[in-house]
């Protein structure tokens, strides 16, 4: 292994985690698996004995030349990102932290990606392998430390976004990317409709864009790539310079738009590229922040969940509730599944977690 120093905090507690899972399975007592517990707001509350992965930490393999890193799930996300940065590399999915305690395991379990997602890929796209503790308390390994691997079913990617409902993730192998040679952020004042037209046009061209958000009457863009193309595109687009901290604030939801003082529910709408503005009753332009070139829209609204979800589904997307005034548990966070899809979700859960010990109910009541 190159370029990494073992940290004094590194330790392998997978045997103890396996033992805890075996005990829970034997007693049939549910576990609430947590890393830094920074993303509990994303999903349904879990009633169970807390099992923390935080002591299980450290980078077990990193070779910048291979573009691959393997990390124990309890490793702080910030620690991983700092190590990659020292080597001129980064996580392509630009994951949100939502707190200094955020762990790599939490990133993988929630599968949440940042502003770069439409251009670089999601957390799932960068996962190459996982080590998982199964309901039998066994440590199993799927995928691995190679770029291409189609042996067996892709359980590694199935674990991403499953929110710990199928097993306890102890380690992940990720593809990493070199940091871009140049980066420039800018702000172009323009109405929403114009921004939508421009983004559709630019989407069909090889432009060095790695973030695009419309907010506060302006299109915010990040240009990244080789110094030559970034300079040329910057020249062509003009606009005002924008502090790159904007993207961090957007990713971490610290912009005013996300303020907790706003009592309306916060919704995430996932929509296909080039979806026009949804006609939603009582929703003003300022109530929506368009990220991911319009494919991820943040909405502040107290519209009934069913109504909102129907509008998103008609457009080919879905809606997630990240917190409502009624408090947790009042609105289903995730869009209900079609009956056939729901049936196979239950089947997968029953096969991989027959005692229902892994984060029961976190995604849906029946999972």
């Amino acid at each position: 292994m190159a370029q990494t120093r073992p940290q004094p905090t590194d330790q392998d507690t997978s045997d103890a985690l396996g033992e805890a899972v075996r005990r829970a399975a034997a007693e049939g007592s549910p576990l609430r698996i947590v890393g830094g517990d920074t993303k509990a707001f994303y999903g349904r509350p879990v009633a169970g004995e807390t099992l923390s992965t935080r002591a299980h930490r450290g980078i077990t393999y990193y070779d910048p030349v291979e573009l691959i890193v393997s990390v124990r799930s309890g490793t702080p996300l910030a620690e991983l990102e700092a190590t990659l940065a020292e080597n001129g590399q980064m996580l392509g999915c630009e994951p949100p932290h939502f707190g200094t305690d955020a762990t790599v395991g939490g990133m993988v379990a929630t599968g949440l990606s940042g502003p770069r997602r439409p251009w670089a890929g999601s957390v799932r796209d960068f996962v190459l392998g996982t080590r998982v503790i199964t309901h039998q308390g066994q440590q199993q390994r799927f995928g691995g430390e190679v770029m291409k691997n189609v042996a067996g079913y892709d359980l590694s990617r199935l674990m991403v976004g499953a929110q710990g409902t199928l097993g306890l993730i102890t380690e992940v192998s990720l593809k990493v990317l070199p940091r871009p040679g140049a980066s420039h952020s800018l702000r172009l004042e323009m109405p929403l409709a114009e921004a939508q037209t421009k983004l559709a046009e630019w989407g069909r061209l090889p432009m060095p864009i790695t973030a695009a958000a419309w907010h506060d009457q302006a299109l915010h863009l990040r240009l990244e790539g080789g110094p030559s193309s970034v300079a040329a595109t910057r020249e062509r687009l003009g606009g005002e310079d924008l502090d790159a901290a904007f993207w961090t604030a957007l990713r971490e939801q610290t912009l005013d738009f996300f303020s907790r003082d706003d009592e309306r529910a916060l919704w995430r709408l996932a929509l296909p590229h080039n979806t026009p503005s949804l006609a939603l009753e009582g929703v003003e332009e300022a109530d929506i922040l368009h990220d991911w070139a319009g494919t991820q829209r943040w909405l502040r609204s107290d519209l009934p969940a069913a109504k909102l979800r129907e509008a998103c589904a008609r457009a080919g997307g879905h809606a997630t509730c990240l917190g409502s005034r009624e408090g947790p548990g009042q609105v289903e966070p995730f869009m209900p599944l079609e009956p056939v899809v729901a049936k196979y979700h239950r089947n997968v859960k029953a096969q991989l977690d027959p005692q229902g010990i892994f984060n029961p109910g976190r995604l849906y009541a029946e999972l």
Binding site: D63, V65, E66, L67, G88, P118, G121, R124, D125, T134, Q136, Q138, Q140, R141, F142, V146, M147, K148, N149, V150, A151, G152, Y153, D154, L155, R157, L158, V160, G161, A162, L177, P178, R179, G203, R204, L205, P206, P208, G225, G226, S228, S229, A270, P272, H273, W292, Q296, G316, G317, H318, L337, E338, V340, V341, A342, Y344, N347, V348, Q351, L352
Partner: protein, 499 residues
């Protein structure tokens, strides 16, 4: 080694009478095209792994989703296995028929349903050829990224089933990174949608699970893929080396310079000579290895990157570096690589193509191991390598007319794959397990992991009717086959020398 279905090792299949099944299906779906005479079945007896042939009980060629639904419901009721086939170009025997099974051929679902240039997606029936997608998207300046060598013939449905790759994977990903949504018909004849035209979908990522599942979990009936803007320019550099190891190190040096090439391919001496003989690509036949490095993107960046890569290659000890002057020369450089398989085919009556992946740093050790084994088995091996992503395609040259040589070639191939696992790699990077590598699965996964795979299968197909015997070996097969299982790189008896 015989890899045909063996009920003792792969599980008993229910015996049904062909005439009864035929009559039942004719009754349930009168308009469904059903082939049952031996001469009609013959063309379907194998896929791209043509050393193995089995006549299916029946071949069905549906044209409507209703026919597929009916077929699944009847086959489930009758206990008849269903093997789904796309274009039949797969190299791992994933579509190898079963004597007791129906072969479901999806080739008549061959329409491009929609190309939406603004949403940058294409909606396709599974029988659409891979290359036809990029052709349909070309007028809009868009293309579909995964480009397996068989792209003029292979179908998108088969690409999903195998999670197909190509020469541009390191930068643009595999099929799993480029498919947004699939429509599926289950063994129970239900329809379901996995994924979404948005960038994610609620619930578990069953789309990722289905991609590469080799037709074992359901039948894919429609696919929505993402289209990318065509790079403004692409340039290719060819570097020759007098030593394979130096070429291998140069690959790492390019990546270490912060560059992700669109394609980065390596060929060894035997492959270079074969390709040069065949297509006159202008390859240096005296070289021990060549690297082809394609850089694509915005013109200005590509020019900068070409200069950087040239410096890196010089420093790495390249004995010659050539940049293709124009698109015509670029196409010629690639023609040698893309025709490497048929080129090697001209040197030998038969060849056997392997598909292992390794961490790139292990390349020298693995090439040495292959050379030693090649000598021990007395069979020549040409190496073609997707160097950027560690995916090797050793081509074993043999003559099937010489008694025992096919078996020798397969044994050598198996050893090569076990060596890939031993160094921390995988037995398949992009061709799939199918029937071909069913035994090597026992080397890559332990019984607990295989049991988990079977549990996943049971969630979708508890009666094991979808493509039984492929992809995941039974524990009985692993016990019988007795492959050395290497886990966490910890070998049994580490004191023994191995290659």
């Amino acid at each position: 080694m015989n890899i045909l279905y063996d009920a003792k090792l792969d599980g008993e299949l229910q015996h049904t009478d062909k005439a009864d099944v035929l009559a039942d299906l004719q009754r349930a779906a009168p308009d469904l095209t059903l082939l049952h005479r031996e001469e009609d079945l013959r063309p379907f007896e194998c896929d791209g792994l043509s050393a193995y042939r089995v006549l299916p009980m029946l071949v069905v060629l549906p044209e409507t989703l209703e026919q597929v639904e009916t077929l699944m419901k009847r086959c489930r009721a009758l206990g008849v296995p269903v093997v789904t086939r796309g274009a039949g170009t797969g190299l791992s025997g994933g579509a190898l028929p079963l004597e007791q099974g129906v072969l479901l051929v999806m080739s008549r679902f061959n329409r491009i349903l929609e190309v939406d240039p603004d949403a940058r997606i294409a909606r396709l029936q599974p029988g659409v050829r891979n290359l036809a997608i990029s052709e349909a998207a070309a007028p809009y300046g868009l293309y579909y990224a995964p480009d397996p060598s068989s792209q003029i013939a292979c179908s998108i449905g088969g690409n999903v089933a195998e999670n197909a790759g190509g020469v541009h994977c390191l930068k643009y990903g595999l099929t799993v990174h480029n498919v947004m949504k699939v429509e599926v018909i289950t063994i129970e004849g239900e329809r379901m949608t996995l994924g979404s035209e948005a960038l994610d979908a609620p619930g578990l990522d069953l789309l990722a699970l289905f991609t590469g599942s080799e037709g074992m979990l359901g039948v894919v009936t429609e696919i929505t893929v993402k289209l990318l803007p065509k790079p403004e320019t692409a340039k290719v550099l060819m570097a020759s080396f007098d030593d394979v190891e130096k070429a291998g190190r140069a690959v790492g040096d390019i990546i270490a310079a912060g560059i992700i090439p669109g394609g980065l391919e390596m060929m060894d001496k035997l492959a270079i000579r074969a390709a040069e003989d065949f297509v006159k690509a202008g390859y240096p036949v005296e070289a021990e290895a060549i690297l082809l490095c394609e850089l694509d993107g915005v013109e200005a960046d590509v020019n900068d990157d070409c200069a950087t890569v040239r410096q890196v290659l010089e420093k790495a000890g390249a004995t010659g570096i050539q940049q293709a002057r124009d698109d015509a020369e670029r196409a010629t450089f690639w023609a040698g690589r893309k025709n490497a398989f048929p080129a090697v085919g001209r040197m030998s009556p038969d060849y056997y193509c392997m598909d292992g992946t390794i961490p790139r740093r292990e390349l020298p050790r693995v090439l040495k191991g292959i050379a030693d084994m090649s000598e021990a088995y007395g069979l020549r091996v040409a190496n073609v390598f997707h160097a950027g992503d560690g995916n090797m395609h050793p081509l074993i040259l043999f003559d099937a007319n010489r008694p025992g040589e096919l078996e020798q070639a397969e044994a050598l191939g198996g050893k090569i794959l076990e060596l890939c696992v031993e160094v921390g790699g995988s037995i398949t990077g992009e061709h799939g397990v199918g029937r071909e590598k069913i035994n090597q699965m026992c080397a890559q996964f332990n019984p607990g992991e295989l049991t988990t795979f079977h549990a996943v299968k049971a969630a979708f197909d508890p009666d094991r009717l979808l493509n039984p015997g492929k992809n995941i070996p039974t524990l009985a097969r692993c016990a019988e086959f007795g492959a050395m299982h290497v886990h966490n790189n910890e070998l049994p008896h580490p004191e023994l020398p191995r290659f």
